[in-house]
Amino acid sequence: MVTTDPAYSEFVLSQQSRLRRAARLMCGDPDLAEDLLQEALVALAEKWESVTHPEAFVRTVIYRQRISWWRRSRHEVVSDPVPERVVGDGAEARARDAEVHAVLRSLPPRQRAALVLRYFEDLTEAQTAEVMGVAVGTVKSLCHQAVARMRSELVAPQTVGRDEE
C-alpha cells in the first residue's frame, strides 16, 4: 500500500481547480485538459522529492506536453465549449465563452500558452519565460501577438488589452 505524501495531497486538492482551468484555456478541450493535468500530477508524484516549486513544475509539464501533443496531431481538437459557470440565464455568458475559446483555438500553442500564463495565471513576464523556457523578450512578442489577435477577433475588440500597444 502506497501512502500518499500529505503535502502532495494538499497541493493536488488545493491547486487542481485552477490548474485544470489553465489547462482548458491552453488546449480548449476539457477531456484533453484533464489528461494533461493528470499526467502532470503523476509526473509530480514521481519527482516529488526533487521538485522545489510544484506549481511551476506542473505548469511546465502541462505546457511542454501540450506542445508535444499539438506537434503530433497538427490540428486542434474541435470540441464542445468548456463547461461554463452559469450567470443569469447563462446564454450571453456561454456565447462569449465559446467565442473566447474559438479565438484561443486559433492561436498557435506558444502564443496561447503565453497568454494564459500571463493573463490567467497572472505570472510575471519573467515567470512566464521560465515556465516556457524562453527569453523575456519572446514572452513579450508572444503576448503582443496573442493579445492583438484576441483584440481583432473578439466582438467588442476595443475592450481587450488595448494597452498592449
Binding site: 506542445i67 468548456v82 461554463e84 506558444r110
Partner: protein, 389 residues
Amino acid sequence: MSDREDDLRVLLDEASGTGQDRVLQPDDTWATGRRRRTRKRAGAGALGVVALAAVGGLVWQTVLGGSDGSDEIGVATLPAGSTTFVLAAPDATADPPEAPDGLQVPSAEELEGTDWMLRDEIWASDQTSAEVVGSAAETTFSFAGQDLPARGWGFGADDCGGGWFQEGLTLTDAGAFPPGDLATDDQGCLEPAQTAEDFWIDVLSHGGSLHQLGDEWLLLSVDTSWAGVEEPPPVSGVGLARLDFVRVGADPAGVDTSLPERAPSNEELAGTGWTLLEWVDGGGVLGDLTDDPSRLGLRWADDFPDTLVLAYDDCELVTVRTEGVDATGGTVPAEGVETVVEADGQCTGAETASPVLMEAFLNPAQFTLVGDDLLVLRLSLPASDTVRD
C-alpha cells in the same frame, strides 16, 4: 495594471469554467507516479542503452566513461546564456560538485562508447531538469564509438523515445558541437517519453556544448528556447532569398557561423546596423535588382519597434514599419511599408528594386541571429514583373 488588461483577465477567467466539475484524487495520481518511479529505478541498472537501441535499432556497447586526464584538450568555461544539464556516469555515486573546478572539454574519442544519465540538477540553477524539460522521463545520453556498429550519438527517454545524430560527435576547442538533424522514429511512447523526445530533439538540433568534470560528470549546455519552436522555413525555390548580414563594426572573418541560429529579441535589434555579407537569392531575383548586393545595408531604428530600413549605399530602398519580431523572428506584421526613393536618378536601379523589396516585406520576413554578429534575413522576393503598382 490597466483596465483593459483586466478585461482580458476577466474574459479568460470566465471562459475557463469553474474547474470544479471534476476531481482528481491525489491518492490515484500519487500511486501511479510512485509505481512509475519504482519501475524506472529497478530498470536503471540496465542503463539506457536499450533506449537508443530500441529507437535506432542499434546495439551500442556500454563502456564506462572516464579519462586519465592525459587527453585534456583545454581548460574551459561554460557558455553564458545556455542552460547546463548535468549528466552522470553510470557509477557516479555522489552529488555533482558545485564548482566547475577542473572543467575541461572532452575529446570525442574519450566519449566513445560511454553512457550518461540525465540528473535532476541544473547547473547553477534552482530548477530541476524535469522542470525545464517538462517531463519526468529517465533520459540517457550515449556516444557510439568508432569500432561500434553505429556512429553518432544521441539520447533515449524511458526506454522508448529518443533521437540521435547519425554523424560522429565533433567538438570545438570550446566544447561546442554543431547543429544538425537528429534521426528518430515515432513509436507511440507514453507521454513522458514523447515530451522529452520533442524537447531534446528541438534543442540538440541547434547545437550546444559538452564539458566534463572529472570522470563522473558531463555537462551539456543548450539553448532551451528552441524547444517547441517551429523551424525557420528552408531557403529553396525561385524568389526565396536568404541574406546574411554582418553587424557594422564586426570583423566578418571573426563571425562564428557554427553557432546555433536563434530568433533575436526586439531589444537585440534596436539601434543596430548591418551590411550584407553573403546571400542566396534562389533564382537570381536579388542579382537582377542590384548590381552589387553586397552594398545592401540594413538598420533598425533606435526607437524600435518602429522601423527598419533596407538601403543600397546611401539610397533607402524600403522602410518597413513593423511591430518588431515574433518568437521565430518573423516581422510582426509589416503593417506599413513604404519607399522613399526619389526619382532623381541618384539611386541607380532603386526604382526597380524598391517596389520588389516593398512587396517582399508585405509578407512577413524572418530574422534570425547566429551568435551576436550575424543576422540572417529570409524573405520571398517576387519577380519584378509581378509586383503590383
